[in-house]
């Protein structure tokens, strides 16, 4: 059984791996043959050397950006969950918050980072960046979790009524367990978004110790250094993504594959 499983995994991996290796090889070849200068486009081998050379610095910068993303993710999730309970309880509030959430989704809200920087003595503080991540995560979690609290199977609600269950019991036994799957989905969407937002916020001022700052500061130099930090950023995004996938897998294993997303 495990053998067939690992074989299936191998089958699934072979095409992507071939594609990746092919692209890297083509890239290397193009750079070598056309003789592009490293400040235009560095070769993969050059990037790898630059990455290993400054590995500890890439890790340091990643920790700064990663911490901002993680703190924002946790805070946004906590506030998002709390707010879901509030808006599910008060219909009117929901009608106010929902269009706001939709509108904010369509708007590039990162531009408020300079505003937050001013409001919070931002030039030395990571707080505006963390607040930015919190805000983005907050709305993702809010929209999904409140949906999960509301969209309960009618049969289960009838059943609870036939048990003469109180609203509190319905909340505890039906709505909250039902929303767990939605929370997991929200986290899967929000986790990579948190990294991207933490990264992008750094472009808009504040302290100069994050990954995006490192990318900006390498702008005029050889691009292999830039790519070294890009690898850091990609790895950070991947770690967050894989962690959220892991949470989803654990949830699926106990609850079964979910029908609705």
């Amino acid at each position: 059984m495990t053998e067939s499983r690992s074989r299936r995994l191998g089958d699934a991996l072979i095409a992507p791996v071939c594609f990746g290796v092919g692209i890297l090889a083509a890239w290397e070849a193009v750079v070598r043959v056309t003789g592009l200068k490293p400040f235009v486009l560095p070769a993969p081998t050059a990037i790898w050397t630059a990455f290993t050379d400054r590995f500890s610095d890439v890790v340091d910068k990643s920790m700064v950006t990663g911490a901002n993303a993680l703190i924002g993710l946790v805070l946004g999730a906590v506030f998002g969950i709390a707010m879901s309970f509030v808006i599910v309880r008060f219909r009117l509030l929901e009608e106010l918050v929902t269009p706001l959430a939709v509108a904010l989704n369509a708007v590039p809200i990162v531009v408020i980072v300079p505003v937050l920087n001013n409001m919070l003595f931002g030039t030395t503080s990571q707080v505006p960046r963390r607040l930015m991540v919190t805000l983005i995560v907050f709305f993702v979690v809010l929209v999904n979790v409140s949906k999960g609290l509301r969209q309960v199977s009618p049969t289960q609600l009838e059943l609870m009524r036939s048990y003469a269950a109180s609203p509190w019991e319905v909340m505890k036994k039906v709505r909250v367990p039902n929303s767990i799957g939605y929370l997991v989905t929200a986290l899967r969407i929000a986790a990579p978004l948190a990294v991207i937002t933490a990264f992008v916020s750094e472009y808009f001022g504040g302290p100069q110790d994050g990954l995006a700052n490192a990318v900006t500061n390498s702008l005029n130099g050889s691009k292999d250094v830039t790519w070294a930090y890009v690898i850091g950023a990609s790895t950070l995004g991947l770690i967050f993504y894989l962690a959220s996938i892991g949470v989803e897998r654990v949830n699926d294993a106990t609850r079964g594959p979910r029908q609705a997303t």
Partner: protein, 273 residues
Amino acid sequence: MLLAVAIAAGAWELYKALGPPDGGDVFGWRIIPKTNDRVMPHIWEMLAEFGDPEVRGRDTAVWEAMLGYSWYTLRMSLAGLLLGGALGIGLAVLMARFRVVERGLLPYVVLSQTIPLIALAPQVAALGGNWGLPKWTWAAALAAFLSFFPVTIATLRGLQSVPAASLELMDSFAASWWTTLRKLRFPAAVPFIVPGLKLAATASVIGVVVSEVSLGLRGVGFAALSYGQKTTSQPATVYTAVFAAALLGLIMFGLVSAAEAFVMRKRPTEINT
């Protein structure tokens, strides 16, 4: 919606009236916003700021300058959306046609969204500079990078949503793969593509605004950054950029929604993806 905006404005003014003028700390975090006029101007001051000269002593008003910035950003966003949309649909068709491409490429398409692609801005600028492309194409290319993903996924799902019976029908007509795509798969995919494009429109604006900042292009995002740095002289100006950015996002979203209304006018109901 209007009510929500009104309440937000009311909350702003209320907090300004009641909050501490110099901010405060919670658990060592400087998190209580300061409320003095320099950082939290009255809303009417923000609006009045549109009429002030952009730079003291010159006669271009902020609204004129902002209109210029917004138009620049809007054009780049539209270009990014078109490019991203075309790329997204093209990739999806390719993946639907060749299973190998789907299996080889799809993981990378998904991964590309988990990493801050915008980090590549300097690289794109370097290549663009080398090839002598105008600067706005750099931002448009990055915006396309951000916006192709939702289109690809939505289109692929739409192309594969065709019921087996319809495919068998086309087979019974001895229709070629290309004819089946044009007559059956693509029309069936439209209700999926439209929501994908909505997400893409938003992503495109964000992509442009962020690349402006990292590339120094003079659009709305750049304005937000540079106005934010001169709060001592003109504290309310930065908010004009925030308003403009919000409006831009909504305009792009509105454009796609209008296109949706046109394309979907003969379809029964929207599909929930």
